[in-house]
Amino acid sequence: MLKKTTVNQLSDLASALMEKGTLVAPVREDAGFQFREITDAKRVDLNFHNTVISPKSVFFPQTEDFVRYRTGRPMQEAEPVEPQGKPLILFGVRPCDVKSFEIMDIHFSGTGDVDPYWQARREAAAIIGYAFDLGAPAEPEEFYQTLGIGAADPEGSDIFMVRRGDDLLLKSITGKGEALLTGMGGLAGASADDEKFFDDTVAAGRDFKTRFTCVDAEVITKKLEDLFHNTDFWEKASNACLSCGVCTFACPTCYCFDICDETLFQQGTRRRVWDACMFTDFTLEASGHNPRTKVYQRLRQKINHKYSYHVRKYGVISCVGCGRCTRYCPVNIDIFSIVEEAMKA
């Protein structure tokens, strides 16, 4: 089903979506665009190229409470915080970020134990993907196309949006998306010409150039396995790294977390918080042993995890080429350049 509205009526579209559930959409803030829960439909803004933090926090928030307890009270009085999925619409997500959810699904709910918090939120959410203006060139740090992700891939979205001049075309991709579109007022029917434009955009997105080295999962996995003990390579690659971890926090597919207890005024919370393999104490054991004390070992871990370990374990590269790690690195380490060097090695 293809419907349409206009960009001038974006706040009407947002208002209609807010009636269906919590709306999370890009808004402009001082530091850049961010996905935020919308309370004022007029704040939704599609003039973004990329958000600072990826939308993973919608399903995997930076802090997630597991248990609330009181110190000095028996542990069986502690109250678990059970997973809850409230109906949510995640609006205006770029195809590479949409792809990240699929990669995270394999880890959190597709293999082994199911993470109930991730799963509850994912099941309750509808995703509205968005192809930004393909007339403008890609940002220099982006490389999703080299990983086989098109700039207008609708897969993974429940509804996919394409902009045509001042029109916004909305196509349902899944049953969930179709139900959502059907139940919404204020949308106009689309023409056969719109249909063609939508399909042409998706096709054009596949050819939308980012960077040029194409990365084959099998090849890079093997290259990195061979390079593992090449300390020289990894020391050069990590020479400037500050171990600040910003690449992992901005990343849509980094999922490492810590579980920690915080107690204040006898009230305590056990929660998970985002953690990063870039930190020294990430692998510090109680014995004092630490397998990754050096910066190069940690950067090696990060790149190997994304481009080698994840492929061996789950069959896919754990990177969508959004470029945030490179954009926000304070010392300009370009992850993709390291991958390119590894491909050449």
């Binding site: 597991f66 248990v67 307890y69 110190t71 028996p74 542990m75 069986q76 502690a78 678990p80 059970e82 997973p83 880890h107 959190f108 293999t111 082994g112 134990d113 993470d115 109930p116 396995e225 593992f228 003990h229 999922y255 490492c256 977390f257 810590d258 579980i259 920690c260 207890d261 107690t263 305590g268 056990r270 998970r272 953690d275 393999c277 990430f282 692998t283 510090l284 054991e285 109680a286 014995s287 004092g288 042993h289 397998p291 990754r292 070992q297 871990q301 190997n304 995890h305 080698s308 370990y309 994840h310 061996r312 374990k313």
Partner: protein, 286 residues
């Protein structure tokens, strides 16, 4: 099987504390489940571990020292950490008394491969307090229902001093049995020690267990493992028939938190039990 939310610990009560060593920093804690359904869900095999959980302190992954052939409780042998890194959970646990209550998440990880071990001669090699899940395995194999499923059982267990040997009463009982060969050694004895002296790798070389239809199960401090593995390899044990258990820092215990990987394997959910053949496939990152 465990409760549907794998992050929520089950309440247990400490019913027995055993001071294992003369330095008093290794104790065994026997726990009883406070809820019967938790106990019936906690179906484990030797080699698995669980997260011991104390609200306000945190969680620690610890190997299960008891055997499923010992119903009614689950036991863990815990060293008080803190010589280098503050060990909040283990210190709090060591300060607790019988009747104290903590939480438990598990069982976690893969057990020793019991079916693979069946009908084979088993050589169990342990050092120091890393003997815990081996104690579980030996106890499991020695149970009347299980003993006929295994061939010869040899245990080689060492500690730095006689006072640092864990499970002393059980070791004495095993030494009296005819269906298990028990060799105890200490790096350095004292005036009352009448047993063997010598490092575990040297004793293994001396005892020289036959590799014929045999599997070596080895757990100990890294330095002991480093020197013991080649002994068994030289004796003719294949890399598939040398098993060990790895440790890495862990949080979730279920392969989600991304912390304990060695190469593409998570030690918690893919291990902690690995054969030497499997370990050699992984990068040296542990």
């Amino acid at each position: 099987m465990r409760s549907t939310n794998p992050y929520i610990p089950m309440p247990v009560e400490i019913v027995k504390i055993t001071d294992e060593v003369d330095t008093h920093d290794i104790k065994s804690f026997r726990f009883k489940f406070l809820n019967a359904e938790d106990e019936s869900r906690f179906q484990y095999l030797p080699g698995q571990f669980a997260e011991l959980s104390i609200y306000g302190k945190g969680e620690s992954p610890i190997g299960i020292a008891s055997s499923p052939t010992e119903p009614g409780y689950v036991e863990f042998t815990v060293q008080r950490a803190g010589a280098i890194v503050p060990g909040l959970v283990t210190a709090a646990l060591h300060d607790m008394e019988e009747g104290g209550k903590i939480g438990l998440r598990g069982p976690l990880g893969h057990p020793w491969p019991i079916e693979f071990l069946e009908k084979k001669n088993i050589v169990v090699v342990g050092g120091g307090f890393a003997f815990t899940t081996l104690r579980s395995l030996v106890t499991y194999m020695l149970h009347g229902d299980n003993r006929p499923r295994f061939g010869d059982i040899t245990v080689i267990y060492g500690a730095r001093t006689p006072g640092l040997l864990c499970y002393k009463d059980e070791l004495a009982a095993w030494e009296k049995r005819s269906d298990i060969k028990t060799i105890i050694t200490v790096d350095k004895g004292n005036e009352t020690w009448k047993g063997r002296e010598g490092f575990v790798p040297a004793v293994c070389k001396d005892v020289a267990p036959s590799p014929e239809n045999a599997v070596a199960v080895i757990c100990g401090p890294p330095v002991m493992i480093k020197f013991t593995l080649p002994v068994f390899f030289d004796l003719g044990f294949s890399k598939e028939n040398i098993l060990t258990s790895l440790e890495m820092r862990m949080k979730c215990g279920i392969g989600k938190c991304g912390r304990c990987n060695v190469g593409y394997k998570y030690v918690c959910s893919d291990g902690p039990v690995f054969s030497l053949a499997e370990l050699e496939e992984l990068p040296r990152d542990f």
